[in-house]
Point group: C2
Chain length 372, copies 2
C-alpha cells in the first residue's frame, strides 16, 4: 500500500493487484473465496466437470447445500426450530411473499418505515391487506431510526417488519427491536455482520449480494411455529412450506456454492463475535475520520449510524464528483452515493478488509489537504 | 478418445481431462465459456475486481445485460415488439406468474399436458382461475405428444400453454403448435436448440440451466401486445411490466454474465440454423444406435422423440444400474433416467458436443457386446 504524500494522488491495490471495492451491492467478496472458485474451474474436485454443470440432486450439490445450512445455523446459533431456505428473487420478492404468507385476511401487520426498501416492503403488504405504519423517519429523509418509545406497535399485529440496515441512507438499528409480536426482518445489508437474538424473530431474509455471497440467492430463516401460522392455500412456489426440509426446484447452484465458501471463510475468521469486532473497528475508524473536520459531513444522525454503509457529503457536489473520480483512479471504487441521498457512500461489509478502510482514510486525508 | 475393444471397458475424456456430461440440468456448458470465466477471476478485464462484485447499475454490467439481450434477439429473430427479461425463480415461478398476469378473472386458458412439468404449470393456473386441459398424454405415461387433430382448444382462451420438450419423458413437439390463440411456451429444455416462429407466441420462458447457462436465471420473452393484456394491478415483482425496459432489482449478475458468453458461443457456431443441424445429427446418431438392436429400447413413441433428452431402457433394471455405473467409470456421467420413468436418459443439449454422443454410442456398443 502506497502512503500518500501531500498533493500527490495516492494509489492503492491489494497484494494481488485488485482495487478496493466499496460497492453497496453486489459487493466485494473475500479474495480467497474467488481464488478457490477459480481453482475449481473447469473441473470441481474429482468430478470431471464443474459445479455449474451438475444436477442439484447430485450428492455433490447436496453436500454443498447441507454444509451451507449447517454453517448458517452454527454461526447464528439457530436451534432445530429454525428452517434455512435458499430462495430466489431477492428481498424484492420477499416483500410480496412475506405478507402473502403471514398477513392474515382478518388481521394486520406492522411496518417500521426507515428507508426506501422498508417503504417498498410496506407497499407490497398494503397491496395484499391491512398493513400499518408503526413508525417512520421519512420526515427527515430517513436520516435516523425512530426511537422505540415512539413506535405504535399493535399487539395484535401478525408481525412487525423492519429493515435492520438502510443501505441508501446509512442508518442501522443499533439494537434489535423488542416488541410483543414476532419480528420479520429484511437483513439484506447487515446479515451476519453482528450477533442476533433469534428468539425475537419469526422470519429473517437477506439477499446474499452484500454480506453473504453473489447476487442470485436469498437466504430465508424461518421459525417452525411462525411458519405454521401462514395462510393456506398458497401458490406452490410462494408458500414457504414448499421449500422447508427439501430442495423443491432447481436452486441457484453456483450462488449457493459461493455462499458456502463465504460462510466457511467467516467461520475461519472466528464467526460472528470476531466479525462484529472487525466491523465495529472499521466503522469507528471511518466515522472518526469524517468527524475530525468540517470538510466531511456524515448524513445519518450519529445515534443511528450504520456500520455497513457510511454516507457522507463534501462541501460541494463538484467536489463530491471529483472525489469519486480521483478515488477510482487511486484504486478505491464504488464510492458514489445513491441518487436519492447524493454525496458519497462507503459500503464496508464483512468482506471489506480493514486495509480498505485505512486506504480510504488515507485518501480522504489527501483529498482534504488538496481541496479543503 | 480411446476406442473400445470388446470386453474392455473404454475410457473417454475431453482434451482437457473433463468427462462427458449428460446431466438433464443443470447441464454441460461449453468448455470455452468456463475457461473464459476462469480467466476473468478474480479480476474482470480492466476493472480491478471480479464481475461478481460489481453493481448491477455499473456500466460494465449494463453492457453485459445489453449484449445478452441483443444476442437473444438476433439469434431468435425477434423484432422490436419483443421484450427480453432475465428473471429468477425458474420455470416453477413462471407456472404461477403466467396465469397471475394472463388468466383473466372472467376468462380461461388452455393447457397441453404432456408431462410432469406441464401438469405442474396447469396446477398453478387452476389454483388461480379457469384453466382447461386441451389435450393430455397422461394415459400412456406421457410417452407421446398428442396429435393436434385431437386438441380441444377454446378459441376464447387467453392463451394455449405447452411445454415444447419434456425432459423427463424424452418427448418433444416436432413442430410448433398452430392455433388461433397466442402460445405460451415453457421452452426450458429446448430453448435455442432450433429455430422458432415468434409470431405464434405471446410469451416464451426458459430456465437457463439446460441450454443457455447456469441455474439461477430464467429467460422470459414477451410480446408487447400480449403484455398489454395482463391483469392489473399485480404485486410489483410478479408483474412482467415491472421488468420491461429496465433492470428493476438486483439481477443474478453472474448467471446473466454466463448466459451472455453462451449466447456469443452459439452465435460463433453459426446461430440457430447451425445449432439445429448439429442437434439433429446428434439425435439421429443416438436413436439409430438405440434402434439397431433389441437390447436398447426407446421409451418415447418414435414420432414424438426428443432431440434433447433421449430416454431408453435395457432388458433389466439390474443392467440399467450397471450401465450407469460402468458409464460413469468410463467418463460418461449423468445418464440415470428420472425416477418416474426409470431406465437411462442421455441429455444432449446444445453444449453437448457430437464427440460426447459418439463416445456414448461406443460405450453402448461395448456394453451390448459384453452383456447382451
Amino acid at each position: 500500500m502506497t502512503q500518500p504524500t501531500a498533493l500527490q494522488t495516492p494509489v492503492f491495490r491489494t497484494a494481488s493487484g485488485r482495487v478496493y471495492n466499496f460497492s453497496a451491492g453486489p459487493a466485494a467478496l473475500p479474495e480467497s473465496v474467488l481464488l478457490e472458485v477459480k481453482e475449481e474451474l473447469p473441473i470441481y474436485r474429482n468430478l470431471g466437470t464443474s459445479v455449474l454443470e451438475i444436477s442439484h440432486r447430485s450428492p455433490e450439490y447436496a453436500a454443498i447445500d447441507a454444509s451451507a445450512k449447517t454453517l448458517l445455523r452454527k454461526l447464528l446459533g439457530l436451534g432445530e426450530e429454525w428452517h434455512v431456505l435458499f430462495l430466489q428473487g431477492g428481498a424484492s420478492l420477499q416483500f410480496h411473499q412475506v405478507p402473502l404468507n403471514f398477513l392474515p385476511k382478518d388481521g394486520s401487520a406492522d411496518y417500521l418505515i426507515t428507508g426506501s426498501w422498508a417503504k417498498k416492503a410496506y407497499k407490497e403488504a398494503k397491496f395484499l391487506g391491512n398493513a400499518r405504519v408503526a413508525a417512520s423517519s421519512e420526515d427527515r429523509n430517513f436520516s435516523y431510526i425512530p426511537d422505540p418509545s415512539t413506535w405504535e406497535v399493535d399487539p395484535r399485529a401478525a408481525y412487525l417488519h423492519f429493515t435492520s440496515n438502510n443501505t441508501i441512507y446509512g442508518t442501522q438499528f443499533q439494537t434489535e427491536p423488542e416488541v410483543e409480536v414476532p419480528l420479520v426482518c429484511d437483513a439484506s445489508s447487515d446479515f451476519l455482520s453482528r450477533r442476533i437474538t433469534p428468539e425475537r424473530y419469526g422470519l429473517i431474509y437477506a439477499g446474499a449480494q452484500k454480506n453473504v455471497g453473489p447476487a442470485g440467492v436469498t437466504v430465508v430463516l424461518i421459525r417452525e411455529d411462525f411458519l405454521q401460522r401462514r395462510n393456506q392455500p398458497l401458490p406452490t412456489m410462494l408458500d414457504y412450506g414448499t421449500h422447508v426440509g427439501k430442495i423443491f426446484n432447481t436452486p441457484p447452484v453456483f450462488a449457493v456454492y459461493l455462499v458456502e465458501k463465504v460462510l466457511r471463510w467467516l467461520e475461519g475468521l472466528g464467526g460472528l463475535p470476531a466479525m462484529e469486532a472487525i466491523n465495529n473497528r472499521k466503522a469507528q475508524l471511518l466515522y472518526e475520520r469524517i468527524d475530525r473536520s468540517d470538510f466531511y459531513r456524515g448524513t445519518a444522525e450519529p445515534g443511528s449510524r450504520s456500520k455497513m454503509n457510511v454516507t457522507f457529503r463534501l462541501p460541494s457536489e463538484e467536489l463530491e464528483q471529483r472525489f469519486v473520480e480521483e478515488a477510482k483512479q487511486a484504486g478505491l471504487i464504488g464510492l458514489k452515493g445513491h441518487r436519492s441521498v447524493g454525496g458519497l457512500r462507503a459500503s464496508i461489509y464483512n468482506a471489506c478488509p480493514i486495509e480498505a478502510v485505512e486506504a480510504l482514510i488515507s485518501f480522504m486525508d489527501y483529498f482534504e489537504q488538496r481541496y479543503g
